[in-house]
Every structure is written in C-alpha cells, then in structure tokens.
Symmetry: C2
Subunit: 137 residues, 2 copies
Amino acid sequence: MLSKKTKYGLKALAYVAKHKGEDPVQIGAIAKSENISQKFLESIMLTLRKAGFLGSKKGKGGGYYLRRQPEEIKMVEVMRILEGPVSMVPCVSLNFYEKCDDCPDETTCSVHSLMVQLRDSNLAVLNKNTLADLIAE
Amino acid sequence: MLSKKTKYGLKALAYVAKHKGEDPVQIGAIAKSENISQKFLESIMLTLRKAGFLGSKKGKGGGYYLRRQPEEIKMVEVMRILEGPVSMVPCVSLNFYEKCDDCPDETTCSVHSLMVQLRDSNLAVLNKNTLADLIAE
DNA sequence: TTATAATCCTAGTATTCCGATAGGATTTAA
DNA sequence: TTAAATCCTATCGGAATACTAGGATTATAA
C-alpha cells in the first residue's frame, strides 16, 4: 500500500506544479484543496523542500514553489524520498541494498528472480513518469 | 516492502513444489531449511491450504503437498492471498476496490494514472510467473 | 514598529499492523 | 497407546504510520 505521506506528497507536488509561474502557494491552500491535515502536510512539504524539489519563502505572502521543471522531476526520485526503496526486498534494491536476514545465499533464494522482475517493471514506470505527467490529465 | 508472511509463504510453496511426488513435507522441515519460525510458518501454511494451493495430511507421517501443478499456480493468486491487493491504492484495485477516503473524485486525482500504470506492470509480471518459475533457477 | 501571516522544527501520541508466541485440541500411523 | 503431525484461537511486544501540539523564526505591510 502507498503511504498517506507519499500520496499527499504527490498531490501537493502536483498542486504546486499546477500553479507554476504564480505566487508561491501556501500549505493551507493545498491542505484545503486536497483534504489533507495541514499539520501533517507541513512535515511532508519540509521533506520535499530538503530533497530539493521545492523551494520556500517564509513570512507573509510566502509559500512553496517548484525548484525544477515538472518534466525533470521523475517519479522514481520522489518515491524514493517519500516511500523509500522501489524494491520489495532489500536484497534486490539498487539504492537501498541490504542483505535479507533470513537468506543465507541470494543466488539460491527462490523469490529473488521474481523480486528483480517486479523491481524492474516498477522502475520502468517510475522512470518514464514525471511530475508533468501527473498534471497532464 | 514485502511482508515476511508473503516471503515465507512463497519460499514454503517453492519447497513443497521441489518435493513434488514424494511424501508430504512437514512444517518443521521447511522451517529449518528456510530459517523460518515454525509457529509462524504454521499459520501461513494454514492460509495456503485454505486458499487451495496446498493439501495436508494429519497425524504421524503427515505434512503438506501441492494440490495443483506448479505451472498452474500464478504468482498473482498467491500474492493476493498472502500480501493482499496488487494495487498500491484501493481505488485502482481490480479485486479489492474501495474508494479512497481523501479523494472526492477519482477522475481528477493526480496520482490515479500513475497508480494504474504501476498496477498493470506488476500484474504483467505476476501473471507471467508461476510457482514453476520459482523453482526453475 | 508592530501586527500578522507564513514557514520551520522538535517532540509526542494514538492507532494499527506485523511478526512471533502460547497452549492446547485433534488426527493418524505404528 | 504413544508419538508425531496438523489444526486453531488467542495474545502480545515492538515498530511503523498518521497525525497533533506548541512554539520559534522570518518576512511583509499597515
């Protein structure tokens, strides 16, 4: 399941992207428009800013704006920041590799190949889609 | 992340499939071979039996055996039983559909299309792979 | 300069889910 | 009748998730 954090984060990014070129958008406006708890959204926006997707302006009239072009923000980047690894098991993760604690040997693990296939098919989708695709429809 | 339940269940199915044609295999043997807590595995085997993948024989000399050919057990079936929906959000699930509580309208949801693509790419992999593929390598 | 409006930041909390365990009841082979 | 196996329900601790609280900081504008 997709976490609420990720879902809200994607919706918020889409909202900001839709208002590109205008004044910065406030958390309150996003929260209201997308039915998200404002306080929860605050922490998500902070994560997205620290990851470099968003910039912010403090004080009255402040808010958030995109720091990169929507076409250049791949979904795989956003998912890795918000949701974590693309892989379903750590031992096939490209960016978050870890040994599985129950597996003595990856080469003899019966689920390994299936997990690689799932990872790659998801990567294909997440590499192809950008923030621009999210707001296209 | 893949739950331990699913991972263990897949490994156990693979183990049983490898011993097809022999005497039924015991939970204890699987648990030992695959580094799984025996009591935890018990409940997983029960689930797999109730779902129709496995049959069991009680009492001394008992154990579990496959009720269907490995080539006919699609991974998508097993995943749906053990892990739940293939989709990452309920509103794009084919077998577990539910409305998302934060979405007034699916057609205007910015993440909807991405979720459909992820679902379909995963379905393709899970439909193609069977239990036979798990033990092939 | 002062009120207001916004982000920033840390900490805490309630709830849910996961992984595992406990303790037997039941069934069957030898 | 004994041992070995599955069957079944209940429970529990810990981790993660989804939020909440409460202010600190910063910038605008009257």
